[in-house]
Amino acid sequence: MRRTLRTTTTALVVTGALIGVAGCSAAGEESDDQTLTVSYIRTDAFTALDTLFQTVKTEFEDANPGVTVELQPVSAPDEDYKTRLALSHRSAETAPDVFYQDTTTIRADAEAGYLLALDDYLAEWEDWGQFSEAARTAGLGTDGSTYAVSLGTDTRALWYSIPVLEAAGIPTPWEPETWQDVLDMAEAVQTSDPEAVPFMLYSGTGTGEGSNMQGFYQLLYGTELGGDALFDSESGKWVVGSEGFVDALEFVDTVYSEGYSLPADQALDPNVWQSVFGELFPEGRLGATIEGSYTPSFWVEGGSFEWPEYADQMGATAFPTKNGDGEGVSMSGGWTLAVGAASEIPDLAFEFLTMALSKENSLSYVTENSQIAVRADVAAEPSYLESNPFVGAVTELVEITNFRPATSDYNQISAAVQNATEAVMTGQSTPEEAAAAYDRDVESIVGADGIIER
């Protein structure tokens, strides 16, 4: 029996030792924990941030001997990156020290206690005064503290191919005033070149939040309720049952059923934007699409899909409202850098953040990635203003732009919107059915108190 006991004990010790190892290695790391982890997105088509962090890593390690910066790039679409980041926040072991954070998730993540409040640090950072008001607001949590610092912002415009439109008999510069003008253009292009894609409209869950920003919201915010079409700012409630929501879905339905856009199966590929930038526009096979102000970054020298002729062949204008009210619609978002609440070296993490967002590094990042600068000193730099021919046009859109409601349940609502557009584009639901399903989803997410019938 004693032998039995010993063998069993051995087995238990082996098992126990393994669990113990977990604790030990964690404890061991703590004592000389001078590793700073940085989590962000790097894909074949998005390398600007990787370039930035590689530079900052060297700079930072030189300035802080003994500290190693561990870059943890994730090659995934935005939505997958956000999911993995949220999952990793749940444990101090896995939470990165500094990370790339979408503005829409700041409030939710701050409420969950994943983000470090930066107020005390920012108060002592002299550059903070350079950041625009909008950029400062974007970093706020529900409690009024600042949790993230903006890397840059963006606007959305209607980008069109001058040769394709002219071949269809549409004079350029093209300035559509209503949705009907856009549909007329699509029809003209379809007639003149049946092989071309007249109007690509991002939609559905494949392209994630991009479907909303570069698609549905551009429509919704141009309906009767305008900036309050999604979220009623006065009551602080989500809008359900609105006519505008159905109208916008009907536009999606028209675009897909008339064959103006890429077929739904291709439009649902998360990488479809790569073929928009890399093939369709450069090859003269696409009339127009809604895309971000960062569009030129793919075509400039050193971009993922170099296309020097874009400066002459592309045009950009504001996307029109439904009936031509106002000067058009644009959406703004942007990403930030934040520090993890669980970071054991918050001082170093903030130092890294400020290095990445210094004037010099910001300038090269916003130029390479065609972002709209949020630092006044960067925005005034000639090299920024001249970085591509569209800087002026897309920066003007800041005047008419909209921001998404920054509530903590926004991301779930966004997913519900994506589901609605996907149901319509694939023909699984009519616009009315999809809108009704959306209303149900919203109510189950925010409760009956959180919605308002308009």
Partner: protein, 289 residues
């Protein structure tokens, strides 16, 4: 034989062409099955050696090892494969050890308690592991085991344990008790009998269990996907996903090359195992209950 001929309504020679017809049909069917099962793999093999591969299956314009050269870096291949090896070996070794210890009393002593444990084990073999990944994630948050290699290994052990205990017990049941009884009379403890007599006699069975668990751990995607985060800890199953992204990025050739490198070890292991111990038969035999 003559009796059979006498009883048969027709001469037995008729059966011969009949048998060869059925043999021909069976062979033809299997050729068809083989083609259907190998067809999807053609893309994998061809694309890996095609520097400009797409999702199309085609002969490479020139055979190229560029894809392999591109992925054979520590970051892309060696670290993830090393992690896979660590994860699978540790999981298989611990599982076999724990299963042997557990199977011995279950095989040798009958009691209500053991019967209950056996029901529990059977129940465990039926548990859909993907069903519990969401709660497992929450549990690991509380236990502070996220991104922990040992934690992930122990979960993999626990999830393969029911099947392993079940298999080990069936192999052990086949070892006659009489040999141990002699040892007991000589004053050997149960554990000594297990180590000196039972284990050596059921080596092939142990190997089957080891290989079975190893293969499962090597190929598992969902468990490390939910539980491991640092790039330095990711096994090949999840690194392939984070490097190439969902639906692959444009580097189809590299994806195919890496897939081959990642699959090769288990294919070789499987072939070796089935050569050495008639693995497939033993494996299925122990499963069919």
């Amino acid at each position: 034989m003559t009796a059979a001929v006498a009883r048969a309504p027709r001469p037995v020679s008729v059966a011969s062409p009949r048998r060869s017809v059925s043999r021909g049909l069976s062979t033809a069917a299997l050729v068809l099955v083989t083609a259907a099962f190998l067809l999807p793999l053609a893309w994998l093999l061809l694309a890996a050696f095609d520097a400009r591969a797409t999702y199309e299956t085609r002969l490479p314009q020139e055979l190229s090892l560029d894809n392999f050269a591109a992925v054979l870096t520590p970051q892309t291949t060696f670290v993830p494969l090393g992690n896979s090896l660590l994860l699978s070996t540790a999981t298989a070794a611990i599982t076999v050890l724990v299963a042997l210890l557990a199977a011995y009393p279950l095989s040798r002593y009958r009691s209500r308690f053991h019967r209950g444990v056996m029901y529990g084990v059977l129940f465990g073999t039926c548990l859909p592991i993907t069903a519990i990944m969401v709660p497992v994630y929450s549990l690991f948050v509380v236990l502070d085991l996220l991104d922990s290699m040992p934690g992930t290994i122990l979960f993999l052990v626990a999830s393969s344990l029911p099947m392993a205990v079940f298999m080990t017990k069936s192999f052990m049941d086949a070892v006659p008790v009489t040999l141990e009884e002699a040892a007991w009379i000589d004053g050997a403890s149960a554990m000594r009998a297990l180590r000196m007599i039972v284990v050596p006699l059921m080596r092939p069975g142990i190997a089957v269990v080891f290989v079975f668990v190893f293969l499962q751990a090597w190929g598992n995607f969902f468990v490390p996907f939910v539980l491991l985060y640092s790039p330095s800890k990711q096994p090949a199953a999840t690194s392939i996903y984070t490097f190439f992204g969902q639906f692959g990025s444009i580097a189809y050739g590299q994806l195919a090359a890496f897939s081959l490198l990642y699959s090769l070890p288990v294919v070789i292991l499987y072939i070796l195992a089935s050569r050495l111990i008639g693995g497939s038969f033993a494996l299925a035999g122990s499963v069919k209950g």
